[in-house]
Amino acid sequence: MILNIAIILGFQLAGEVLARALTLPVPGPVIGMALLLAAFLVRPALVKRVLPTSQGLLRHLSLLFVPAGVGVVSHAEALGQSGPALLAALVGSTVLALTAGALTFVGLAKLTGNGAEGKE
């Protein structure tokens, strides 16, 4: 358990160092994820060890956004007078982006012969 946490934190640390050293436009933890994936590919034995911990962390991923969410409500005035316009832009663009993204994925999956395995 402690070892697994140390492994995950170690990869995050390596990602942070790389992101800063090379001034990459991606945050350290995302680099850490890529590095851990690479490590899994090189040493599949590592997967069995780390997978339960990673699943435990991700099962309640929603919880981790609560502190930042409280900040939004507490700083609602940051939206200013443009609040309603910004909200309309967020709702509209999110619905459009979801629709366009999912339809493109499904369309291209069919074209490349990888469609219709939805209900697995």
């Binding site: 991606v26 997967v47 990673s54 900040g71 316009a85 982006a97 999956a109």
Partner: protein, 238 residues
């Protein structure tokens, strides 16, 4: 014996109370979600943040004091992002076969998010730094704040817009995909990760592990792509 106000003033300054409150609020949110028959509108993050904001307001507690306790939960976002490598590895056979659909959905989804947000806001009279703050709203918070600083946005406003986008995406994705009869978990997950970053990804994991894995990839790739295109797209609207 110490009287209650004294205990309260001791507790509200330390991390213990607000850390506990964060976990309890989330448990209540999660129970409400299950109790509602897993209705996506009863999003656990949304319920918990409204509850906690109410408590902070009622007790006149500044957000900074709250965050001293809640930061331990907030910190776990980093390790959780690294942990996404797990489901990604388990779904690698899916990922390998869908490189073309992912590339297409990334370009279209990411582009639509930035262009339509700026277009709607501009049409409603939003301009300047506020408009710039909107451009990176679909990317994960640390990247969005970096982009906002680069293109002349307001980092605090961007942080709020990012969280709101995530919650909107998490709430609408299931009814929207059902209405369009899209049953492919890979498409549903990838789209929500691209449009609504980590909160969308958390929603995807709530529903299906394959959807979660694809959402994680969408989130990561979108962060990269938005960093590249946001300055140019914003230029078209200024």
């Amino acid at each position: 014996m110490t009287d209650l106000p004294e205990i309260w003033s001791y507790l509200r300054e330390g991390p213990l109370l607000w850390l506990t409150a964060t976990l309890v609020a989330y448990l209540i949110g999660d129970a409400a979600y299950r109790g509602s028959g897993e209705n996506p509108v009863v999003n656990p993050v949304l319920v918990a943040m409204l509850l906690l904001a109410g408590v902070l307001w009622a007790t006149a507690t500044p957000y900074g004091t709250y965050f001293e306790g809640a930061q331990f939960v907030h910190f776990m976002l980093g390790p959780a992002t690294v942990a996404l490598a797990g489901p990604l590895y388990s779904n690698l056979h899916h990922v390998r076969r869908t490189l073309v659909p992912m590339a297409g959905a990334l370009l279209v989804g990411s582009g639509t998010a930035v262009v339509s947000a700026l277009w709607i806001a501009k049409a409603l009279g939003v301009e300047g730094a506020t408009l710039a703050s909107l451009a990176p709203k679909s990317t994960t918070a640390p990247v969005a704040i970096g982009i906002a600083e680069q293109i002349g946005g307001l980092p605090t406003l961007t942080a709020a817009l990012v969280i709101l986008t995530g919650i909107i995406g998490a709430v609408v994705v299931t009814p929207l995909m059902n209405a369009m009869r899209i049953t492919d978990w890979r498409a549903r997950g990838f789209a929500v990760g691209t449009a609504a970053h980590g909160i969308g990804t958390a929603r995807a994991f709530q529903v299906n592990e394959t959807a979660g894995a694809f959402a994680g990839i969408g989130m990561g790739l979108n962060a990269l792509l938005t960093a590249l295109i946001a300055p140019y797209v914003l230029g078209l609207f200024q």
